[in-house]
Amino acid sequence: MTTKQLESPLYESLQAQFEIVSLQDQHEATKAYRTQAMETFRALGFPSIKNEEWRFANVLPLVKTTYEVSADKNAQISEETLAHAQSLIAAHKEDILPKLKGEEKGAYRLVTINGVFSKELSFLPDNAGITISTIGEAVDHPGYQEYFGKIVTLENNAFASLNSAMFTDGLFIELKANTVLDMPIHIIKVKLASGNALFQPRNLFIVRKNAQMDVIETYISDADNEAAILINGVSEIALEENAHFFHYDIQKGCKNIRKIQRNEAVQQKHSNYSNYTFTFPGSSFTRNNLTIHLNDEAIESHLYGLYLTAGEQLVDNHTEVHHKKPNGESNQLYKGIIMDKSKAVFNGKIYVYEDAQKTNAFQQSNNVLFSEQATVHAKPQLEIFADDVKCSHGTTIGQLNKEAIFYLKSRGIGEEQAKQLMVKAFAFDVAEKIKIPALRSYVEEMIIEEMKGH
């Protein structure tokens, strides 16, 4: 091992677990893929902070923990767990998404409990144009054969490699050509564990030609749970010609959740992928890797991020946008409000390949430090090999404008409320990009809620 890798007992135990996972997998192609991914993982090991990509996200505390690895792909959910999940979901719906209550109004619901898809708690669209199954059930589906394992980059990605080697659960969603889903799908991932647990969900979303869907992902765990839960997730996303996919990831977990997520998308001509990654206080460690490949001409990609962090939380967003063909447009807007002793990282890369003339690529990252102990690291990186392009990036790190706060106070508005107004205003231009009104008002209310007392 080089110094860029960490030694950890988890690394050893995973090697052993891999054999079990591999033996259980009956699908030859997937099995071969797992083996190859495991080799990549073995070679890479867990990254240390000497690895540039992980410089500010120290995974040592995460990999020092021993986790029970869910190796059994046929795991069943006990009745007790199911009932518990049910009550948590009910509270979740009442509490945070009153306007997205499944069949009542506004959204379909897809529930997984510890990664196991629960048909019982889900409310799925009755539409022949959509296929929803577990990733394990999808192995013979043409969509799986076409895209599985072909989107995510394993090279230099230890966690994605580990996921590829050892995933046991996840979802497969394919929207057939010309299907437009009438309501968003709300995926609720319930994570319950009595001991430390590692979950490695693996999803594949395929949006075929002229199809359109909105997906909202949220996850919940038990607030009283002390057990450390590490989620190492990968989603592969394919958008075919003129497909539209609005993908919302609302991250508000409990403190015991540690999350590393890689979303990687490939896009074809005239498609539009819009990703909204909004992270709120809760989860102690969050690393989001979002990579988009604009593989054809005239593609649009939008990456909107908001991170409101508190306590001692770390939120690290790494984005990569690959412009490979002409006339593409990408737009990144990330806004951070960093409170208490929390730490935020934004690392955004834009690559414009030699063929990608007339590319428009924009990136903006604005951060407000809300306390003296808060830190933010922002690093924009542009690599441009075409000569006729418009690219820009901008990063700001600052504090709330004191003069503006004084102005608000001089009109009778109290300090805390003045700050809330300012933060809401700061987050406004990214929150307004949310196309689902109920979700937008939920996010805006949560900003105010989480700001209280700061």
């Binding site: 404008n401 508005i413 300012m422 205003a425």
Partner: protein, 245 residues
């Protein structure tokens, strides 16, 4: 209403106000004039509670209450209003929501119920008409992209909505063309009453042609050095400030 006694204030190590006295009664309009650097805007800042000013001596009371101990928002709720020389642009905060929040904070402080949306809109319409403020501006972000004149008119609109006891206009006339100056002055004149008072801080006599003061004070080197009636302003216009030193 307002009683300032022997007020000393400084910014960092620099003493700006050096024993200022001023009595303002309900129904009165006082103009404060004086050369650059005399401390006029500092007086406004001290009264509104701007953070970087430190009061080292003296007292300021509003209807008998010591306001120097109060935070800026408490002073506003007690009825102090400062029309800023340079109003701040706050993108993303809507003018109307901001005003509604402010008004309801002030009402709560006075033991009144918050206004309903309907009552608020009604009041907002009345006051817009009274001070000739463009309805289109009301719905925009607070001062964002407003011209200099529009910002000043927004200050007067806020003044009309919040109905303070004491309004301090800090060089509200600066940067206004003659039409805007007339509109702003008309607004202020309509808002004058037996129950409120105004302090106009200005460089130029011009404003006082439109808003006629009861008293004119000359502030120089942190103190009021001369007080007179409205005719003093004309005299200053003619002679400048040097003869007072």
């Amino acid at each position: 209403m307002l009683s300032i006694k022997n007020l000393h204030a400084r910014v960092e190590d620099k003493e700006i106000l050096k024993g200022l006295n001023l009595e303002v009664k309900a129904g009165e309009v006082h103009a404060i004039m004086g050369p650059n650097g005399a401390g006029k805007s500092s007086l406004a800042s001290v009264l509104a509670g701007r953070e970087n000013y430190e009061v080292t001596e003296g007292s300021v009371t509003l209807d008998g209450k010591d306001i120097l101990e109060m935070a800026p928002e408490e002073r506003a709720r007690e009825g102090v209003f400062l029309a800023f020389q340079y109003p701040i642009e706050i993108p993303g905060v809507s003018n109307i929501n901001f005003l509604k929040t402010a008004l309801n904070e002030i009402r709560t402080h006075r033991g009144l119920d918050p206004m309903t949306a309907k009552e608020f809109l009604q009041k907002s319409k009345e006051k817009q008409a009274l001070v000739e403020f463009d309805a289109k501006l009301v719905n925009r972000s607070l001062n964002e992209g407003f011209s200099g004149g529009e910002k000043k008119r927004n200050e007067i609109f806020q003044l009309a909505m919040l109905e303070p006891k004491l309004a301090i206009l800090d060089e509200t006339d600066s940067g206004l063309d003659i039409d805007a100056l007339r509109i702003v002055s008309r607004g202020v004149n309509k808002l004058r009453s037996e129950n409120n008072a105004f302090i106009l801080i200005t460089h130029y006599q011009r404003l006082l042609d439109y808003i006629v003061p009861d008293y004119v004070h000359v502030l120089s080197d942190g103190k009021i050095v001369k007080t007179g009636g409205k005719e003093l302003a004309l005299e200053l216009e003619e002679k400048g400030y040097d003869w007072l030193k």
